[in-house]
């Protein structure tokens, strides 16, 4: 498969913000903090965790999307996910830093 690297994302229940599931099972607003998995089993595991977060009312509508791992962090393959990660391209002032290393998590 061309894009076997995946990250699990969702929108946070309280404000709808785009979040990524980290390797520690938390949700981060930073794309680079998302856990990148390759194996179907690992992905199934992340998705199962995400569903538990849905049940716990932390996030809604989780799913996995394809990324290309790069030196500066994972890069979403689809335009849609690039925009979700960075914010509306027409409002740079509301944007978020992408491509940065995962600092906080």
């Amino acid at each position: 498969m061309a894009h076997s690297h995946q990250i699990v994302t969702a929108n946070r229940l309280r404000d709808g913000a785009v979040v990524y599931l980290t390797a520690q099972g938390r949700w981060s607003e930073t794309l680079a903090c998302g856990a990148v998995v390759e194996e179907p089993a690992a992905l199934a595991d992340l998705l199962a965790q995400a569903e538990r977060s849905v049940a716990d009312r932390v996030v809604v509508a989780p799913y996995a999307f394809a990324v290309t791992p790069r030196a500066d962090g994972p890069h979403p393959v689809q335009k849609r996910e690039q925009i979700r990660a960075a914010g509306p391209t027409v409002h740079p002032q509301f944007g978020r830093a992408t491509g940065l290393a995962c600092a906080a998590e």
Binding site: N11, L13, R57, V60, K79
Partner: protein
């Protein structure tokens, strides 16, 4: 303007309280997302790419200064300081927090606004000519009937779960500014045999993935029979409309599949059954009660022009150019209708900051009776400006950055939110609009090009009206090709009386090439036009071929 009565206030207040409870239960765990989603949608709350989006109805596009200030306040307090006026005469907030939404709805209810029926398979916000009640070419005031339809359709139990959403548009003028032929039902006011006003009823128009021009089911419907007839149409739709396939659920598909004659027969049969000998009529007293809300304001006896105005028109080119595009004829001598462009060069079509909303509210009081309209072309309108004040108004608008003289011209672009916000999008719309607007920034050039619209949708749902333009148009549809944004171009469409859908020019263009393509189309028109021809006229005369050749010659 219509004012809520006791019943309206109670209904909206109860609805806010109910939604507050639903949000609390969602956050506390009493409601799952599957249970909550339809409830939030019924209150206009969507989940978009980056955040929730709240869609607030502006019934038939009419706002008071007080309401506009409240919209500004909400943008400031609960959002990121701006709102987006849409082609359906709504306003959308792009960043509210879930738990703030009940407060927002409460603040809206205080000024007689709400978000009910801005989503879901019900009768949506009724749209109307933005010049309703003031247009010189108007036959009768459509706001009266739009309000009657609004009251009748709000939480109508029989029509809360239709096969799909249902949109009604109404115009009282022969110059159709409400795009009535591309709505589920379009109503156009016409004179009956004895000259009394009635409606031409058009059914089955629509945009989306299957654009269709509606057809006339009734040439003339007497005013008192309006609701009974709408009910007949909706009953036929409710009964026979397809619920098995989301993409075939709109009434246009039913009309298409049933055939016009048979569909008309079904409606007339339903109407006759309901009516018996005596068609159920709108009570005259009720009609009079609603009409009273829309009495013309206290117009003064004002001159059509003044020496100062003549002087300004002759001496100030920028002002004269603005007047040419922004000012429309008012039915009352001495007054003008002014369209405020929400399309500054390089701006986001339809976006307004809280400051701009406040400025417009102030100006509507200073230069009118405190009323504002929202047009389906994503602009604002001051309906009652004394002509002698036009220069002062222009100066004030200019100071607020709201005097772009481009209404109806190539940079007066309609664009949906597209992939910058929308969950369903294939491609971005706004940056394309911005780039085209920048490319044609020169107003002299825009005025030379004349009436021409660019309309951009980020996907086949066509929220940006890319199928139809007002005066001929360039339609741009964003498509996804393996994760890359591409843009398909259509030409010719027209949303007015002679409504026609655009034709696709050929293979789609990349995001980098689309602005050049628009420029090539415009250049071809300039090159080939004859004296006095608008873009649409030239297109109709010479057809697609010369445009196609110019666009694809190099490839």
């Amino acid at each position: 303007m219509y004012r809520y009565d006791e019943f309206d206030h109670t209904l909206v207040a109860e609805r806010v309280a109910q939604f507050r409870d639903q949000v609390n239960r969602r956050v506390a765990g009493g409601l799952s997302e599957d249970e909550f989603k339809p409830l939030r949608l019924m209150n206009g709350l969507y989940l978009q790419l980056h955040a929730y989006m709240l869609r607030v109805a502006i019934p038939y596009g009419v706002l008071s200064a007080v309401q506009m200030r409240r919209l500004a306040h909400i943008a400031r307090k609960y959002d990121k300081g701006y709102g987006h006026f849409t082609t359906r005469q709504n306003i959308q907030y792009n960043w509210p927090d879930l738990e703030d939404v009940p407060d927002i709805l409460e603040e809206l209810a205080e000024v007689e606004m709400h978000a009910i029926q801005t989503s879901g398979n019900c009768i949506r916000n009724v749209t109307a000519d933005q010049f309703a009640g003031v247009a010189a070419d108007e036959f009768d005031d459509p706001r009266v009937y739009a309000e009657i339809i609004r009251q009748w359709s709000t939480l109508h139990p029989e029509f809360s779960f239709l096969p799909r959403k249902f949109k009604i548009a109404i115009t009282g003028a022969p110059n159709d500014r409400a795009a009535v032929k591309v709505h589920d039902i379009g109503l156009r006011m016409v004179a009956g045999p004895d000259g009394t006003p009635g409606f031409e009823v058009i059914v089955g128009g629509g945009q989306g993935r299957t654009p269709m021009i509606g057809y006339v089911v009734r040439d003339y419907l007497p005013v008192p029979q309006l609701l009974a007839y709408l009910e007949a149409v909706l009953r036929v739709y409710n009964q026979f409309g397809r619920r098995d396939n989301l993409y075939k659920a709109r009434i246009k598909i039913l009309v298409h599949e049933t055939g016009k004659e048979e569909f008309t027969r079904l409606v007339e049969e339903e109407f006759a059954a309901m009516a018996g000998e005596d068609p159920p009529a709108l009570p005259g007293a009720e009609l009079a009660r609603i009409r009273a809300y829309f009495q013309p304001p206290a117009y003064a006896d004002l001159p059509a022009t003044t020496p100062e105005l003549d002087l300004a028109l002759a001496g100030n080119r920028a002002f004269a150019r603005w007047v040419k595009t922004a000012v429309a004829e008012h039915k009352q001598a001495g007054y003008a209708i002014v369209t405020i462009s929400l399309k500054p060069i390089g701006g986001i079509p339809g976006d307004a900051s809280a400051e701009e909303m406040d400025a417009v509210a102030d100006l509507s009081e200073r230069f009118g009776f405190g009323e504002i309209r929202v047009s389906h072309e994503q602009n604002l309108v001051l309906p009652d400006v004394p002509r002698r004040d036009l220069f002062a108004l222009w100066q004030a608008l200019d100071a607020a950055g709201l005097a772009t003289a481009n209404v109806g011209l190539v940079s007066d672009i309609i664009a949906c939110p597209g992939l910058d916000y929308c969950n369903l999008a294939n491609a971005r719309s706004i940056p394309i609009a911005q780039e085209i607007s920048e490319r044609f920034a020169d107003l002299d050039r825009q005025h030379d090009i004349g009436e021409l619209k660019v309309k951009i949708s980020g996907c086949i749902n066509a929220c940006g009206h890319h199928h139809v333009g007002h005066i001929g148009h360039i339609g741009i549809l964003g498509v996804d090709r393996k994760g890359v944004e591409f843009y398909q171009v259509t030409l010719g469409g027209n949303a007015t009386e002679s409504a026609a859908l655009g034709d696709i020019v050929g293979p789609s263009f990349s995001g980098e090439a689309i602005t050049d393509a628009v420029e090539t189309i415009v250049a071809t028109y300039i090159d080939r036009r004859q004296a006095g021809e608008r873009f649409l006229d030239t297109y109709r005369r010479i057809g697609m071929k010369p445009f196609k050749e110019a666009l694809y010659a190099a490839h």
